[in-house]
């Protein structure tokens, strides 16, 4: 069958809502786009362990210590599920990691910001995981089987992440005046960056149209961002916190919250590598990988010796 015919059949399958599995025929661009998207997602989970990991040893109660540990552990697990799903497309995890460490692959730029206070733990769970949930809920219905299935698993675990973040937020907001100030400051530092997580408006996003046609992306960046804003504004009101946007107001007609202008220059600058923590995040991942090399090698050497003996 000709490439054109195959492509036609493939797109008919997508249109009919069929799920594409690893060994099905797929256009090379579909495979490439998925590898890019999925590996970026996996890298984000793994790098995403670092901002919160920064506060594990300073968690202020035994319960918070355990919950934060469990959350960061989940993020490692999520990275793993998605690397695992990406490998079904015919690429090694080793190669994906190499791309992250040498800077050719990207990860969500939100993780290039520093966590400066315990309150950041609240806001990250509430905003960053909250944004991730909006995105992942959509991806759970995407056309590529292994990715969709990984998303379903992740969505189940992610709900606890947002809840614990909001719980920390509420505790601080209703706590001492110093605690309230701490959480309000964190909100001020993370709000706009969280809105940027959804990416620029699709007209400025080169990949969106194709991804939508192939049902890898089912909603536009702006739609998802709007959903996140609409969910979050009442949540902020409920705990007496203000979002740092003087232009934020409810449009009575549409039922949606209008918000102010996002500073996309900052976004692109961070994507380029000039954010506050880009270098440190990659350095941490390089160190873990390099310092752990002797450990991984030892395990392989042992297993080879034992195979010889069997």
């Amino acid at each position: 069958m000709s490439e054109d015919k195959l492509l036609e059949q493939f797109e008919k399958r997508i249109e009919a809502g069929e799920i594409i599995e690893p060994k099905d025929w797929m256009p090379d661009r579909y495979r490439k786009q998925l590898i890019r998207m999925m590996s970026q997602h996996a890298h984000s989970e793994v790098v995403g362990m670092l901002p919160e990991g920064n506060w594990i040893t300073r968690a202020p109660s035994l319960r918070r210590k355990m919950v934060l540990l469990a959350k960061v552990q989940d993020e490692a697990g999520h990275g793993l599920y998605i690397y695992s799903a990406t490998e079904t497309l015919g690429i090694d995890r080793a190669e994906l990691i190499q791309q992250l460490l040498d800077g050719t692959a990207k990860y969500s730029s939100i993780f290039n910001y520093p966590t400066l206070s315990w309150a950041d733990m609240g806001v990250i769970g509430w905003f960053v995981d909250g944004a991730a949930i909006v995105n992942q809920t959509m991806l759970a219905k995407c056309s590529y089987g292994p990715y969709a299935r990984a998303m379903v698993r992740i969505c189940k675990e992610e709900n606890f992440h947002k809840k614990q973040g909001y719980e920390i937020t509420a505790t601080l907001a209703n706590g001492t005046p110093e605690q309230h100030e701490m959480i309000q400051d964190a909100v001020n530092r993370w709000w706009w960056q969280s809105l940027m997580m959804f990416g620029p408006s699709d007209k400025d996003s080169p990949n969106s149209a194709e991804l939508m046609r192939w049902k890898v992306k089912l909603k536009s960046n702006d739609e998802l961002r709007q959903r996140f804003v609409d969910l979050t504004v009442p949540q902020a009101k409920a705990v007496n916190l203000t979002l740092p946007d003087p232009d934020l107001k409810l449009n009575e007609e549409t039922g949606h919250y209008e918000y102010g202008k996002i500073n996309w220059d900052e976004f692109w600058n961070v994507v380029k590598g000039n954010g506050p923590m880009n270098k440190e995040r990659i350095r941490a991942r390089i160190d873990a990988h390099e310092n752990g090399r002797w450990v991984r090698e030892a395990a392989i050497a042992y297993s080879e010796k034992n195979q010889k003996n069997n």
Binding site: E21, K23, D24, W25, Q73, G77, L80, Y81, S84, A85, E87, D92, R93, A94, E95, Q98, A150, R153, R293, R296, E297, A299, I300, A301, Y302, S303, N306
Partner: protein, 100 residues
């Protein structure tokens, strides 16, 4: 594939199957990387069952799994058109007979 394996520090891929409750079949959950079977089992439990989601785990080196290809699905799965008698709808059960 990657040139990096020449360093001998990359672990093999193992596919993981989990049984959620006794009596149910094992379902494919994803993969883990591990140097051998014992570590693969431990890793699989930590990754896919740390919330007690499984009562049993199977791990298989990915290169040991043999699978059909979509292009096989013709003769492999479809009964030929003259063998419709495999389908239960083509049997008439006399009225009054229970259990079907």
């Amino acid at each position: 594939m990657a040139e990096l394996s020449k360093e001998k520090s990359e672990w093999k891929v193992w596919e993981v199957f989990t049984q959620l409750k006794t009596g149910e079949p094992h379902i494919h959950a994803g993969n883990v990387h591990a140097p051998d079977a014992e570590m693969a089992l431990q890793n699989a439990r930590d990754v896919y069952s740390r919330r007690n989601e499984a009562v049993s785990l199977w791990v298989v080196p990915a290169d040991q799994l043999v699978a059909t290809s979509p292009s096989d699905s013709g003769p492999f799965f479809e009964p030929a058109n003259d063998k419709i008698y495999r389908h239960p709808q083509f049997y008439k059960i006399p009225k009054g007979v229970r259990g079907f």
